[in-house]
């Protein structure tokens, strides 16, 4: 599984990579972007199987990124898991309404991430 991680924090992007690999998830290539706009540029050349995106980011936040993805014929089916400290707030609910397939709360733990990836895999298998 190839993944695009979108977060304005370089530290969080590195930690997330480490946690994903430690969680025993079978990942291939992981690329990073610092905001929504950089993520869209990255998607011109990189075709991931999943996007993990923070909500609260400068330049283009995670919700705007989600809107742009869902408005694109070629990208709208790409699964997006949102990551935020904003558990159970309106912005998280909004991200689900906009089409995010799941949500990971920061600070994240390996078990939570493994569970969300398992859930995504089951959904993908069911749809496939």
């Amino acid at each position: 599984m190839d993944i695009l991680i979108v977060d304005d924090s370089l530290v969080l992007r590195k930690i997330l990579q480490r946690v994903i690999r430690n969680a025993g998830i079978n990942v291939g290539q992981i690329q990073e972007a610092g905001d929504g706009q950089a993520a869209l540029q990255c998607l011109d050349a990189f075709k991931p199987d999943l996007i993990l995106s923070d909500i609260n980011m400068p330049i283009m936040d995670g919700l705007e990124l989600l809107k742009r993805l869902k408005a694109s014929d070629s990208l709208k089916s790409l699964p997006v898991i949102m990551i935020s400290t904003e558990a159970s707030t309106e912005r998280v609910m909004e991200s689900i309404k906009l089409g995010a397939c799941n949500f990971i709360r920061k600070p994240f733990i390996e078990d939570d991430i493994r569970e969300k990836f398992d859930s995504l895999a089951k959904t993908t298998v069911r749809k496939g």
């Binding site: 924090s9 904003e86 600070p107 994240f108």
Partner: protein, 182 residues
Amino acid sequence: MTTQKLDLNCLTEAMSAAALEVFGSMMGIAIEPEKIEPGQATAVKDHGVLSLLGITGEWTGNGGLSCSADCACWMASQMMLCEFPEVNDEVRDAVGEITNMIVGSFKNSISNLTGPLGMSTPTVISGQGMTTTNSESREWIAFPFHSEGHSFRMIVQLQPAGRVTSRAHDAMQHLHGALQPA
């Protein structure tokens, strides 16, 4: 949280829970809260790091973290699993993210009393002789913590926003009373 008023105990409980969770889950570190310091200006006298973000909603203000340069390097090292001998962009980024997670969790905990709160991305600065202040002379509350020979302070100042609701007014009266010296 059992209390229904936004008082000092409620804020302390929310901040302690948030900080303990973030340090425990992201760094595997047990931290201990110390006695809180209401009304204290936040000063970083020696070389240190100060991370601040804005809080918006029915209540507005700031949240943040202040610590020495050594402590900031220690936090970043624990988070990134590598050594940082001095404060650099990665250390500032780590401190900003710790602030973001702790204050984010804190504001989620108190939002049943304050209404929904928004939060800006953190701004992190490092240097010497820094003191926080603001144009309205709002009172800061400092929540000190320590672990493994390092200490840091989470800081918060909150005030009802321009259009004060009755809920915010009642809570502010209660909080103001708690902040007065005995």
